[in-house]
Symmetry: C2
Subunit: 301 residues, 2 copies
């Protein structure tokens, strides 16, 4: 029955919920966004929000549903314990947290450890598997920019390890609450590419961001950078700090950026200034990851 | 006339004002603090606040007065243009900004340049000269911890160069406004030394603070660090990030920390964990710096 929906896919994060109805070939038949991130959902009301997200869709009552993201955290619908790296598709399928047996399940997040300190992700694992499936890759260095950026090493089709960088959050803190905010205009989101690249270059030759960030103040004080260029310059400083600690020189695997257009564009420019060319994948990565996982489960069922 | 006051010394910063009446030997005869940092003083009202700061003191109308700090900035009483490094006592004396000729003057801040980007200080130059005078040093690596920490290289009794690190401000941003703040108790200012050292050590082996800061979240999530230890741990991460970028290994000059007791104690512990012993100087550094400058001017007058 090729016309039957194959999967309800849900990307349920902290601040928003996105749902899609997918065909057997992974094609998105319906898509919907709700401002109902898990922080807005009181315990016990997840089923009602779920029903609202898929209301009116031509899915059979038993159509499988896979969800990824913070919905599997302790504050979510059902906790899906972290799966330790290295981890592949099969490991995620083994560790699904079932909300309703054989019907609705949550993909577990991943954990790994560096220097005896744990690191975690929830949702990005699904995007990574979706992205490498879309690109036909088994080896990759995948970067998922955001509030908490993830750098993910894929080896043999599995997620070997990853690291989190609080880049987006540091930018927002400096942009909104620091002394640097005082001389910056409201951010219209537009990118001043020259100022952005100048920030990346200054980050690359500075001791660290604690020092480099002060240059946004002094360049303004000495009128060497107009105030409307400061947000882009600061963005370059922070993203530049993230990039320069990555193993880009020794890396031979394809580099893939997964994220929104605005962010992937910035990371492409930043990587280019380090001599690295990267492929970009957008929000389709999540749908592809959940679809590939559903197909994998169907194959082993 | 040894009983005549020699100098009115004023440390006038962004958020507070400290004044002292000094004898010819540098002894503090009177001392006073007012919550009248320059941000609280409208243009034109500096003379009135100054009069309030020294009211009732047994100084002759013509007793010299030297001020240091943000009072010399564009938003201060009179702008004292930055003096370029390398700079010594004589350079500061040459560049004093006179509020009233031969009577009240403001010590200029210093500027230097790294990789074509300027760096600046106002007030710390006076503390550095005071500290090396108190300790009888001509070579030193001086650290002035704070909202914007300064690392200052003294060679041949002059300030050769310096770098600013926004350490205190980053700590406050992360402590008050970041996702890490959600799991932290109110900060009582007490130091959990074990957690602080753990933070310093984790900073030393992390890619950078963008990554290391996330460990405050995961260690809490995995219940590997109690929430009341998190503020000290975070303090260790941020100060550790500042320290590890310093040229401590190749340094042969004495290391001096100038600041409040609470901060110098933290930096002493942090430096010790890098194998470095440091001398500590408190608020007397400013008075000594202004006194030494006044004495220098008297000698050349």
């Amino acid at each position: 029955m090729p016309d039957q929906p194959f999967l309800v896919a849900i990307d349920w994060g902290t601040s928003s919920l996105r749902a899609a109805l997918l065909d057997a070939d992974g094609h998105v038949r319906q898509e919907r966004s709700l401002p109902r991130g898990i922080l807005t959902v009181p315990a016990g009301e997840f089923p009602a929000v779920f029903a609202q997200a898929v209301a009116g869709w031509p899915a059979q009552p038993g159509t499988p549903c896979l969800m990824s993201g913070m919905v599997g955290s302790r504050q979510g619908w059902v906790e899906a314990p972290y799966c330790a790296c290295p981890a592949g598709f099969a490991d995620l399928a083994d560790k699904l947290a079932w909300v309703r047996p054989q019907h609705i399940a949550i993909v577990p997040g991943l954990s790994c450890e560096h220097a005896e300190v744990p690191d975690v992700m929830r949702g990005e694992e699904t995007q990574v598997f979706g992205a490498i499936d879309l690109l036909g890759l088994h080896e990759a260095l995948v970067v998922l920019p955001g509030t908490h950026s993830k750098w993910v090493r894929v080896i043999g089709g599995r997620i070997e390890s990853f690291s989190t960088f609080m880049t987006g959050e540091f930018y927002a803190l400096l942009r909104q609450h620091s002394i640097l905010a005082r001389t910056m205009p409201a951010d219209d989101g537009a990118l001043n590419e020259a100022a952005f690249v100048r920030g990346i270059q200054h980050a690359a030759r500075s001791a660290n961001l604690l020092h480099a960030a002060f240059s946004a103040r002094t360049l303004s004080l000495f009128e060497q950078l107009p105030s409307d260029a400061l947000p882009s310059y600061l963005s370059g400083l922070v993203i530049g700090e993230e990039l320069r600690s990555q193993p880009l020189q020794g890396n031979t695997a394809p580099v893939v950026i997964v994220g929104s257009n605005a962010l992937t564009a910035r990371y492409q420019i930043a990587l280019k200034s380090h001599g690295v060319t990267a492929a970009c994948i957008g929000s389709e990565a999540t749908w592809r990851g959940l679809w590939a996982l559903a197909r994998h489960m169907k194959a082993i069922a």
